[in-house]
């Protein structure tokens, strides 16, 4: 596979290394002369010097025959533009763009540049995946009494969303003591219906947290 990478920063350089190791043909384009000289010592003929948003530089790097174009400069506009011309002008089938500022993801989407990879978003997703307690706040830990009071945000599509308190199926040792909604709070009865966006206060025996919190996170996150 012929891969063209624009931007020889940490991401671009390491991607190039990996892809060369996996027997791909790789060309990296780097706009800073200084950076180019550093990386060129290792990558040699696999790196070219030039502004990868200039069409003739992309053409010199063989964009017309590239199977994959990866735009990983530090500038989101540049990454959008590179991928846009790669796809629309040069007919490159696959592009991958780096999105430096997650707020700009909407612009990548609007202009049809996908996938756009945002490190911030990836880390956030990892946190949500790896830490099932996401959305949970410990309000009070009574260690000697072996009790804790936690606050959980009710996610849309979670098991608790739309359920009355009595149908939550909470394990023994867990009790909903308050529901916070629209800036106010109330002590629920068994009939009170929990809705997505509510914050629910619970008192629990220590050690059953996991089996309680999974009812309030979205099912896809709980499955992971």
């Amino acid at each position: 596979m012929y891969v063209l990478i624009v931007g020889a920063g940490k991401v671009g350089w390491n991607l190039a290394r990996e892809l060369i190791d996996k027997q791909n043909e790789v060309t990296v384009v780097e706009a800073s002369r200084r950076r180019y000289e550093v990386v060129e010592e290792e990558l040699e003929h696999n790196i070219q010097y030039g502004d990868g948003t200039e069409l003739w530089i992309l053409e010199r790097a063989g964009i017309e025959r590239a199977d994959l174009v990866i735009a990983v400069t530090g500038d989101d506009e540049d990454n959008i533009l590179i991928c846009q011309v790669a796809k629309e002008k040069y007919g490159v089938e696959r592009v991958v763009a780096r999105c430096n500022n997650p707020r700009n993801l909407q612009h990548f989407e609007l202009l049809g540049v996908k996938p756009a990879v945002s490190a911030t978003d990836l880390i956030m997703r990892l946190i949500e995946h790896e830490v099932p307690k996401y959305g949970l706040v410990h309000l009070l830990d009574l260690k000697e009494e072996r009790l804790e009071i936690i606050e959980m945000e009710v996610a849309e599509g979670s098991d608790a969303d739309g359920q009355p308190v009595q149908s939550l199926g909470l394990p023994e040792g867990a009790l909903v003591i308050s529901i916070l909604r629209d800036g106010g709070g109330f002590v629920p009865t068994g009939e009170s219906v929990i809705k997505a966006g509510d914050e629910v206060l619970l008192v629990l025996d220590i050690g059953i947290e996991e089996s309680v919190t999974e009812r309030f996170v979205s099912r896809t996150a709980a499955a992971g």
Partner: protein, 130 residues
């Protein structure tokens, strides 16, 4: 554009840029009825604050070709502005995006053409190409 009676809103990331708008005027830019917003072009909030939703025309003329090309497409596709004009210094990109339907103005290309005409002695008025 303001002097012609249009409503004009300028967005610039540099708060000092308003000094350029005021320079050589008897009244300040804002006293003359112009608006000025500080912010960067890719920030949707800044564009909204500058009034992009009510704009009939949009001009992208930052010093970055790629910024201009991206923001112009946002103005066109997201905010559905009928008249979008983009300044692109690089003739290659200006030409291709013009072919894609963006109205690009390329000062480099314009200068090349003027110089060519001057060299060939085609300029209509003496001294007009100085």
């Amino acid at each position: 554009m303001l002097a012609e009676g249009n409503e004009v809103s300028v967005l610039d990331e540099n708060p000092e840029a308003i000094a350029l708008l005021n320079r050589g005027q008897d009244q300040s830019w804002e006293d003359l009825g112009g608006s000025f917003t500080v912010g960067t072009a890719l920030e949707i909030d800044a564009l909204l604050a500058a009034g992009i939703e009510n704009a009939d025309a949009f001009v992208a003329s930052t010093d970055g070709d790629n910024t201009n090309l991206v923001i112009a497409q946002i103005a066109q596709r997201r905010f559905r502005i009928g008249k979008v004009v983009v300044r692109v210094l690089d003739p290659g990109r200006a030409k291709w995006y013009a072919e894609q339907g963006l109205q690009t103005i390329c000062p480099t290309q314009t200068a090349i053409e003027m110089l060519q005409r001057a060299v060939r002695g085609e300029h209509e008025r003496r001294g007009s190409v100085a």
